[in-house]
């Protein structure tokens, strides 16, 4: 991937900032998401909560299904590939997807290597639960990062943990003397240049969203408070009682996350939230996939 293309891909993530990216499984849901104000949709056959319930191997979605969603909406359409699945990524590039999520939500195809994302023209977003993972994905060519959280649970604790961990590690790196950054890079298992960027700039070199377990407007506002630049909502919307209303409320909560009076109004009468599973009740820890 040429430098310009990588830069254009980072730029698209900049345009998504302050927005909500919603998981959708049908063109109908995609239209509901767009009407509610989603800044992009993630097209997938089964939302994480159902993947978790169904078990078995979870793969890239049918390209025909993704095309149906591309035709239904005018906002960017993302889709997931399995970690390390180069061929699935090539297929999504061939159908001109706007962003590929190399995602721990699907069953990993490779338990050692991630995709060399620099070989692609389409952008990639990857999950990370700490600074080391984030910078390794960026070195591989990811142009956007999201916390992993724990998808399909409706439990925000892991997204919070990952966002706090990443930002704490960034602050620690900033506080170091210049000559200590070499050792820090070694400890983080990341290239020196990226550690140096974080040391000098106090942030990742790409946009960083929150994901995994966001189910309410308050969850979205919490993640923005903790430094997220936007929010992915997976199962939280279409597993709830009134998806259109909840989706719109989460969009506005993400935009106006500091306004508690507004959040109180947005949180009222939203109907049933997704049931959710506590993190200690789940069998598969998706966040552990791909370090």
């Amino acid at each position: 991937m040429e430098t310009t293309r990588n830069e254009l891909n980072k730029n698209l993530a900049q345009m998504l900032k302050g927005g909500v990216i919603m998981d959708v499984t049908t063109p109908e849901q995609a239209r509901i998401a767009e009407d509610a104000g989603a800044c992009a949709v993630m097209a997938l056959e089964r939302i994480p909560a159902d993947i978790r319930a169904a078990g078995g191997v979870s793969r890239m979605s049918d390209p025909a299904m993704i095309r149906g969603i591309q035709e239904a909406v005018s906002i960017p359409v993302m889709a997931k590939v399995r970690i390390g699945h180069i061929a699935e990524a090539r297929i999504l590039q061939a159908i001109e997807i706007d962003y590929i999520d190399e995602s721990e939500v699907l069953s990993p195809a490779d338990d050692v290597y991630h995709i060399d994302k620099r070989q692609f023209d389409v952008p990639f977003v990857c999950g990370a639960k700490n600074l080391g993972e984030a910078l390794r994905r960026i070195e591989e060519g990811a142009s956007m990062i999201r916390t992993k959280g724990e998808p399909g649970t409706g439990d925000v604790i892991q997204a919070v943990r990952h966002m706090r961990t990443m930002n704490r590690q960034i602050r620690e790196l900033v506080s170091l003397r210049d000559d200590e950054v070499y050792e820090a890079a070694k400890q983080l298992a990341v290239p020196y240049e990226l550690a140096k960027f974080v040391h000098d700039n106090g942030r990742l070199p790409v946009v960083n969203f929150a994901a995994g377990g966001v189910a309410t407007p308050a969850d979205a506002a919490l993640m923005m408070e903790l430094g997220a630049e936007g929010v992915f909502v997976g199962s939280g919307i279409f597993k709830s009682g009134d998806p259109a209303k909840r989706a719109a409320a989460i969009v506005q909560a993400t935009a106006n996350w500091q306004d508690a009076d507004l959040l109180a109004r947005l949180s009222a009468n939203l109907g049933e939230a997704m049931v959710g599973i506590n993190e200690d009740e789940i069998e598969t820890i998706m966040a552990a996939r791909g370090e």
Partner: protein, 216 residues
């Protein structure tokens, strides 16, 4: 290039709270609004983010509509109550700059979308005119700028253009003047003190376009 970390929490420039006038209001409901703020800081101009209707106070005499998703921004413009004060600002002929999604919000007509937002820019604009993200590109072109009476004033030479799932103008009405074309398509318009670009001057290092906007 990502925007400086301080802009994740910065809501206004140092002097904007005290200023009685001369503040640029940047629509901040979704998108790349922080990038415009960073650009205005480089130029020493006062600015504040517009997140809610009450943020639009008397100190604001120019408005920026940033890049992002126009459908998202259009919806939030209504629900935040920011639509009316900004519409009033535009119809009074005061300075406004719309980039990418901002151009769509300003347009009188969209040729592939039934929505019309401010409906102020005398032109027909096509959303996602270059297709999906693989169609995003960069170019370098000269930009023509005009005086208040519509006469040609100057040229900003060799300006870097960055298009991200960008629109272009398919039909220019009588009141709008073409500032820039690339590959034969109109990608920037001026209509009095209204500027609209299909590209993103705020994500380049070049401050000249913003300087011109601040001179209006």
């Amino acid at each position: 290039m990502v925007v400086d970390v301080s802009y994740i929490s910065k809501e206004h420039s140092a002097g904007a709270q005290q200023a009685a006038s001369g503040v640029t209001g940047i629509l901040a409901v979704q998108g790349a609004f922080a990038e415009h703020a960073a650009m205005l800081d480089q130029l020493g101009a006062e600015w504040k983010l517009l997140r809610a209707a009450e943020d639009f106070d008397n100190s604001i005499d120019r408005v920026i509509l940033p890049g992002g998703e126009s459908t998202t921004q259009g919806k939030l413009l209504r629900s935040t109550g920011l639509f009316d004060p900004i519409a009033k600002h535009i119809s009074a002929g005061k300075p406004v700059l719309g980039t990418c999604a901002g151009m769509i919000l300003l347009a009188q007509r969209l040729d592939n979308d039934p929505n019309v937002y401010f409906g102020a820019l005398d032109a027909t604009v096509r959303r996602n005119a270059y297709g999906r993200q693989l169609g995003s590109f960069t170019a370098t072109e000269d930009i023509n700028v005009f005086d208040a009476d519509g006469s040609h004033a100057a040229v900003i030479t060799d300006f870097p253009l960055v298009f991200i799932r960008g629109p272009f103008v398919v039909d220019v009405g009588e009141r709008a003047q073409v500032m820039c074309r690339t590959n034969g398509n109109v990608v920037a318009l001026q209509q009095g003190k209204m500027l609209a670009t299909a590209f993103h001057p705020e994500i380049t290092e070049d401050t000249r376009f913003h300087e011109f906007f601040l001179s209006l």
